[in-house]
Symmetry: C2
Subunit: 145 residues, 2 copies
DNA sequence: TCTATTTAAATCGTACACGATTTAATCGTA
DNA sequence: TACGATTAAATCGTGTACGATTTAAATAGA
C-alpha cells in the first residue's frame, strides 16, 4: 500500500482521460460540419452497423442508460436523423430507426475516420494493437466492477 | 478512402471512450466515500503533487478551461477541500490552495490506486506500457489538432 | 383472472464539458 | 501617462452523464 497518491502522469486513468479528451477535440470540428456531437455520432455508427434497435440495445453497446439516451435521441429526432417509435410487439420498448438523412450521412462521414487515422500518425497495426489492449483492459475493469 | 463507416468495435476512439467509461464506473463508488467526483479527484491529485497553483495552471494540466474549473473549484471550496484567493502579485489570477482537510485526503485516498490496479488485473509493466502508448498517442493527436 | 413483480423509458436534480462572451486587471507603446 | 491590446476568471447556454425515482406495459403466480 502506498502512503501517497500517484502523480497525474503516473495514473493510467489519467492517460485514458487525456487520450479520450484529445480524441474528442479532434472529432469536434469534424463533426460540427454535420451538426453532430460525439455521442450522437456514436449512435449513428451503431445504427449504420445495425438499424432498428431498441433504446436499451443501443444503451448496452454504448454503455448509456435511458436517462442519457432519451434526451440525446430526442435531439437527433428533431434534427431529422432518426425516428423513435414504440415497439408494437411490446409497447414498453422504443425502436430507433435511421431516416434517409441519417443513413446518407454514413458515406459523407466516412472521411472522418481517415482524418483521425492521419492525425494519429501511426501505422494501422500499431493502432489496432492499442485498440485491442484497451478492449482487454475494459473487459477486466467491467468484470471487477 | 472507405465508403462506409467503421463499426464501433473497429474505432480506436470508441475503445478509448469505453475504457475511460469503465474506469469511471470503477472510481465512482471509491470516490463517493469521500464525496468526490472524478474531476475533483484529479484536481486533488494535481494539488497533492504541487500546491498553490493558478486556475490556468491546473487547467493546462487537466486540459480544462475556467468555464469548467471555476464552478468545480467553487464546489470543492464549499466542501472545505481547497481555498481560492486572488493572487496579490497579479489580481487577474486566482491561486488554489489545499486546506488541511484537502491535504489529509492524500493518505486516505492512496488505497484507491491499489483498488484500481487490482481491478485491472494485469502486471504493472503491462499497465505502464499501455499508459506510455496512450501518452504517445495523446501527444500526436494534440500536435495534429 | 387478478394482482404483485418485473421491465423499459422517461423524468428529475446535480455535476461536468465547452464555445462564446463578459469583466477586470495588467501590459505595451506612443 | 493615457489608452488600446492582452490576459485570466467568470458567466451563460447547450449537451452529455448518472443516481434515484416515476410511469406504463408485460408477465408470473395464486
Amino acid at each position: 500500500m502506498l502512503d501517497r497518491a500517484l502523480t497525474l502522469d503516473e495514473l493510467l486513468c489519467f492517460s485514458l482521460y487525456s487520450a479520450n479528451h484529445a480524441m474528442g477535440r479532434l472529432y469536434r470540428p469534424l463533426l460540427a460540419r454535420f451538426d453532430l456531437t460525439y455521442p450522437q455520432y456514436l449512435v449513428l455508427v451503431a445504427l449504420w452497423q445495425q438499424d432498428g434497435r431498441k433504446v436499451s440495445d443501443l444503451g448496452a453497446e454504448l454503455q448509456l442508460e435511458s436517462n442519457t439516451l432519451t434526451p440525446l435521441l430526442k435531439r437527433m429526432e428533431t434534427a431529422g436523423l432518426i425516428r423513435r417509435a414504440r415497439n408494437p410487439q411490446d409497447e414498453r420498448s422504443v425502436i430507433v430507426t435511421l431516416t434517409d438523412k441519417g443513413r446518407a450521412l454514413e458515406g459523407e462521414a466516412a472521411e472522418i475516420s481517415n482524418c483521425i487515422l492521419a492525425a494519429a500518425d501511426a501505422d494501422l497495426a500499431e493502432l489496432a494493437e492499442l485498440r485491442d489492449r484497451l478492449h482487454r483492459l475494459t473487459s477486466r475493469l467491467r468484470e471487477a466492477g
